[in-house]
């Protein structure tokens, strides 16, 4: 403590600088160490590799629908009648809230595959069972807040902002659908 004043000032500023560097270094280390904790809450590898679901299409007659579980969500598979296909394809896509053509949503016209989760707030729309209300456009109707979907699963009326999502799917044989 018996240093001269100038020595002391120089030493002080050097120490100040060193402290700043060290604090920044330590803060960066702590920030980096947070990432493993945050990321551990993201979907784990086994969840990401979630399995595919196969659906046997033979028992589904025209006009019928089935619901299967895929990644914990309901997936609607509907065997559309020619009239339903025609209704879906007659609408000019440009007029829709979420403009997508039915051709782009259904690779085989008679089959429409949809994630059965309303794009508004996540309820499951009605329309799968024979007695269900299918809304004003013959597709699906979400009872929570009144969204109407057409036979292509596109939003036509109500608060939902987007069409029902189409999951990745493929036809393995003529009669087996693989979702995922």
């Amino acid at each position: 403590m018996q240093e001269s004043e100038t020595d002391k000032a120089g030493e002080d500023s050097r120490r100040e600088f060193l402290s700043l560097v060290t604090t920044a270094f330590g803060a960066a280390g702590v920030a980096t160490a947070l990432w493993p904790f945050i990321n551990s809450m993201n979907p784990a590898q086994d969840v990401l590799a979630a399995s595919t679901t196969d659906v046997d299409l033979d028992p589904i007659a025209a006009g019928q629908s089935i619901t299967v579980l895929w990644r914990g969500k309901p997936v609607f598979v509907r065997h559309r009648t020619p009239a339903e296909v025609a209704a879906a394809r007659a609408v000019p896509a440009a007029e829709l809230r979420d403009p997508v053509s039915d051709e782009a949503r259904a690779t085989k016209p008679e089959w429409i595959v949809l994630v059965g989760v309303c794009t508004h707030l996540g309820c499951v729309p009605l329309g799968q069972r024979p007695g269900d209300s299918r809304g004003d456009f013959g597709g699906w109707f979400c009872p929570c807040h009144g969204s109407h979907y057409d036979t292509s699963g596109r939003i036509r009326r109500g608060p939902a902002p987007a069409n029902l999502a189409v999951p990745h799917y493929s036809f393995r044989d003529s009669n087996v659908l693989r979702i995922g």
Binding site: E11, L18, G29, D46, T52
Partner: protein
């Protein structure tokens, strides 16, 4: 002067700690394990991918009929360098139990890459019934679950021998140099040429044992390489940080004297 006084009790305590660590030599019967230089044992080492891939071939040809790998999914094998079509083929060769179907029945179907590897037996009772009362253990954690780890498993696989004169082996059991008690239920799993490698490596017993142990070591801890890589970076960071904090501390305390 002062530093030396501080260090003495510290050093003594550390010595005591080291003593504690060296103490727990396992007290069981001393069996000499082979000491192999494994591709994955050093602090910066990785699994030898070729050996591990060959090891998987050993597993499919010699082990999988009795031993499961229930924590592994087929697509986790991608880490060993199998590509998508190879994985699909590997999976399709195995059957898994699925269901119930719409009739309420369980059914078998070819495995998909996202499936876990199917167990060889439906349940423990079935496994014991098929194996003379013995239960072939699942191998997913085998290397971590035995003292001696890879050396021990290698020792078991290569330790089959004629029983020494006067050593009575119970019926249904086999003599093994390394197995505790020397009587093991598993019949000799590897013999020369019993396994064929697609890369053409001659399949001696030692080669097959070495490769399957490398594969099983990976299966026991697929995150080992990531752990060592992250660890090296963490250590470099901490050493730099220690130097910085030490510099500050020295300058600060130097002013007091």
């Amino acid at each position: 002067m002062r530093a030396r006084r501080m260090i003495r009790p510290l050093a003594a305590l550390m010595l005591a700690g080291v003593g504690l660590w060296l103490a727990p030599v396992r007290a069981a019967e001393e069996i000499e394990l082979p000491r192999i230089k494994w591709s994955f044992s050093g602090p910066f080492d990785r699994f030898d991918r070729n050996a591990a891939r060959r090891g998987f071939e050993v597993y499919t040809q010699a082990c999988q009929f009795c031993h499961g790998l229930r924590f592994l999914s087929f697509n986790s094998l991608a880490a060993l360098g199998f590509d998508e079509s190879e994985l699909s083929a590997i999976a399709a060769a195995r059957e898994v139990l699925d269901g119930p179907n719409d009739d309420g029945d369980m059914f078998k179907r070819p495995a998909r890459v996202s499936d876990r590897m199917p167990p060889p037996f439906a349940n423990e009772k079935a496994a014991r019934a098929a194996n003379n009362g013995a239960l072939p253990p699942d191998l997913s954690l085998m290397i971590k679950a035995r003292n001696g780890g890879p050396d021990y498993v290698f020792g078991i696989l290569t330790g089959y021998d004629k029983a020494p004169q006067g050593f009575a082996v119970a019926p249904g059991l086999n003599y093994n140099r390394v197995f505790p008690g020397h009587q093991i239920a598993m019949p000799r799993p590897l013999s020369a040429g019993a396994v064929t490698f697609t890369d053409g490596t001659p399949a001696s017993v030692e080669q097959a044992a070495h490769d399957v142990v490398t594969f099983l070591a990976w299966a026991s801890e697929p995150t080992l390489e990531e752990r060592k890589r992250v660890g090296t970076r963490v250590l470099l960071f901490l050493l730099t940080f220690a130097a910085l904090v030490f510099a500050i501390q020295q300058r600060l305390w130097a002013r007091l004297h």
